[in-house]
Every structure is written in C-alpha cells, then in structure tokens.
C-alpha cells in the first residue's frame, strides 16, 4: 500500500528545488534512500539534489536505509553552518 510523506528543503537545497515543501507518494516499505531516488527521478530541478544528502526524519538525523511511514516529515539538510 502506498503512503505519502512530506519532504522539506532548506537553505541551498530550497534554492535548488525552488520550494520548501513537497508531498511525495512512496510504495510500502520505502526507505529514506527510496524517497531521495524517487524525487531525483522526477527530473529538474529535483535531480540537482545530491544522491546521498543528509536527512532528518521527524526532526532527528537518519540514515538512508531508515524505513519511512505515513506522514513522516523528511528534511533535506544541507551541510550546517550555525554559530
């Protein structure tokens, strides 16, 4: 069964894709890596995202093999530069 998650883009990634937020529908069992792949295969501008970006799922850093669930908040995190 398919489910959808919310992808968020910040800073350089937001500039790159031209939006801060996209809904993505994924197949059952999809991981963070699958979401990245699915977005990039939409073509421009999403194919400009890195193949292996840093990701946070529900506001916690996550690995690319982490499974996703319905309504997860999946943030694409460019290299951070606070301070």
């Amino acid at each position: 069964m398919n489910f959808s998650v919310q992808a968020l883009f910040f800073a350089a990634y937001r500039d790159l894709v031209g939006t801060g937020e996209v809904q993505v529908e994924l197949a059952s069992g999809a991981t963070v890596g699958d979401l990245v792949h699915s977005l990039r295969s939409r073509g421009a501008p999403f194919d400009a995202l890195p193949e292996e970006p840093a990701i946070a799922v529900n506001r916690t850093y996550a690995y690319l093999d982490e499974p996703l669930a319905a309504d997860d908040e999946v943030a694409f995190i460019p290299p951070v530069a606070g301070g």
């Binding site: 350089a12 292996e52 946070a56 093999d65 943030a75 530069a81 606070g82």
Partner: protein
C-alpha cells in the same frame, strides 16, 4: 536552569549572561558570535541565518543539556539568532557559570563547537559587491553521509 532558544529578535549578550550565576559559582563565561565584515578574503555586508526551527531548537537544547553535564551545574544558556543580520550584530550568545573556571570554559566551547556541527542552521553571506552565497557547512553526524553531498 538550562536555557536554549532560537530567536528572530536582537540578542542582548548581557541578558544571556544574567541567566547564569549562582552563589556557589566563582566563574562565569560568555561567548558572543558576531557577524564580521569579511570571509575568505571577501568583504561581507551582512548575513542571513536560516534554520529548521522545529528541529534546531530541540537540538540546541540537547547540546545545552550535554554541556550542563560537563559543567556539573545547570547554569547554562544559549540563544541563536535567525533572520537578516548586519555587521556587528550578535548571531549567538552562550553563557555558563560554575564553581571553578575550567568547567565554564569547557562547556561554553563545547556548545559553540556542537552548534556548528549539528544544529540545522545555515547562513548566506551578502557581499559588498552585491552577490551572496551560502556558507560552506559541515555534514551533521548521525546521517551516514561522510562528505558534503555535491550539489548539481
């Protein structure tokens, strides 16, 4: 009490310092990060700070708690600014106090180093020439990503 916040208001460093201190403490330390007028040989006119606020605030709070453990007191406060900042404006203020000075130095240093590594905040430099660019950052730990993902 440990205090951590992201704010779009001007930061008053003295107010952050006044959040720490205790009759048992012989030392207090205040670190202030400021927007400077140069970077990598270019003249900077200002800086924009963006954050994933919903995540940055709890991450900042976790760092503050870790630092408080090193400090062995709960007298630690950190405030990070977001938005458009001019040269000389305060981007971050960190204060700590402890019975002896070593712990305050250590905890304050820890907070600023960890902010730069882990907190989802980004900054865009505006140059005097009129262009702007995102400051090269650090890939946070806990993502399995070793190198900054090449963009494009």
């Amino acid at each position: 009490m440990v205090h951590a916040a992201i704010t779009s208001d001007v930061i008053d460093p003295a107010a952050v310092l006044s959040r720490v201190g205790h009759d048992e403490d012989g030392a207090a330390l205040l670190f202030v990060g400021v927007v400077r007028n140069h970077a990598d040989g270019r003249s900077v006119s200002g800086m924009r700070y963006d954050a994933y606020v919903e995540m940055a605030e709890p991450e900042l709070a976790r760092i503050a708690e870790e630092a408080a453990e090193r400090l062995s007191t709960d007298r630690l406060a950190v405030v990070h600014r977001i938005g458009e900042l001019d040269i000389g404006e305060v981007s971050v203020a960190i204060a700590a106090s402890s019975p002896h000075r070593a712990e305050s130095f250590d905890a304050t240093r820890y907070v600023i180093e960890e902010i730069k590594k882990r907190v989802p905040i980004w900054k865009k430099e505006h140059y005097v020439e009129g262009d702007a660019s995102w400051v090269k950052g650090t890939v946070p730990p806990g993502t399995g990503v070793a190198e900054p993902g090449a963009v494009g």
